[in-house]
Symmetry: C2
DNA sequence: TGTATTTAATGACATAAGTCAAGTCGCAGC
DNA sequence: GCTGCGACTTGACTTATGTCATTAAATACA
């Protein structure tokens, strides 16, 4: 049962560059709760407050909105060793504008904001990890934004192929299209043309 | 001369919710260097390493890239009480992919990464401020990204009008267009149509 | 294995946005 | 007070992308 946690420990240690003591690991085990989600099950629904943040041990999920016309727009695709939450709702305890749904059966380790603050943040490796994540995230967000305002759909697709090649195997093409801000038909045509 | 620093002190105190002691203020004054930039002058050029981060006391700037066709794309517009830097280049000391140029005459307070780490980060109010900024930035980046993949040019323009109304007075329309990922002609037509 | 559901491809057409060129306006600098 | 440049608008046209409808293929699952 504890084996679930190895992925989390490895991840924290790798990103922080610090080793977790046996006592610190026990603190993680005491407060993170293992949870399973079935494919299609919702981790969060629009309008709800994101009470938990989850570390993804296995499986994948999408974060998306639904517009007035009923079209879904995927903001984030999440896989193993990423965190699952709506950052804004989780930290500010405000109703979320997003839905988060499992795309495959998932195993996560989840915890509330209050417990993070009280027990987990004081662990130096964890707060160091948070700083690294925050820095990486900022850089990635900037790149994605630059791509969005500067590049065509075809260019954005090529960048995704280069940056996350495994996404193509793992997610249906219509999800990829939505993530890129394209219609499924357009992505289908882009792929057809780029086979030359 | 010290009056320059009041804006910075106010900003740090407001965001962190902590008061700066007289000694801490002296640490800021000792390490941040006032610098003036003339309109059109570059704070950073593509390919250079962003050695400094600057707090904007007065004036404004744009962060942009130039693509193969010679078109400029504005990623960021920065005004008073914002920080001026390329985050990625500044923290990782890698050559920047961006240009940063003054749009008006500017007064900034600048400092190197090394000096921040050694003298400024240890000030509790400053590191608290950094956490708040990082959180706000992440939320803002997520909203902007959602907008980019979900909304039309017209909708993105309306969001900008609501969120940063003063930008319209302050920046030429072609800069706004570039920030929104639109051609100047398209933005001109959007404005014309939305006058109904 | 057969059947239902999801996903992908494609054609025909509509709409959004970009491009190029021309012309106007306003203003900074000589 | 000129002059020239930058900013904005507008029209004509092109290109990219979206929409709708249909069919085919892949997949889930009973």
């Amino acid at each position: 049962m504890t084996s679930n946690f190895e992925a989390l420990f490895d991840y924290v240690q790798k990103l922080s560059g610090k080793i977790l003591s046996a006592e610190e690991k026990q603190v993680f085990i005491a407060h993170f709760k293992p949870k399973k989600l079935r494919k299609r099950q919702y981790f969060l629904q629009e309008g709800d407050i994101c009470k938990y943040t989850g570390f993804i041990v296995k499986g994948s999920a999408r974060t998306f909105t639904v517009d007035e016309k009923g079209h879904e727009h995927i903001l984030k695709l999440s896989v193993e060793n990423w965190w699952l939450n709506d950052f804004e709702s989780f930290y500010q305890l405000t109703p979320s504008r997003f839905n988060i749904q499992a795309l495959e059966d998932m195993e996560i380790l989840q915890i509330t904001n209050a417990l993070v603050d009280e027990f987990i943040k004081p662990i130096p490796a964890f707060s160091a990890m948070q700083n690294v994540i925050s820095q990486n995230y900022t850089i990635a967000a900037q790149k994605r934004m630059q791509s969005a305002i500067s590049h065509s759909g075809e260019e954005r697709f090529q960048e995704l192929v280069n940056q996350y090649p495994h996404f193509l195997q793992r997610f249906p093409q219509n999800m990829i299209a939505s993530y890129l801000g394209l219609s499924p038909e357009t992505l289908s045509r882009i792929r057809k043309n780029s086979l030359k």
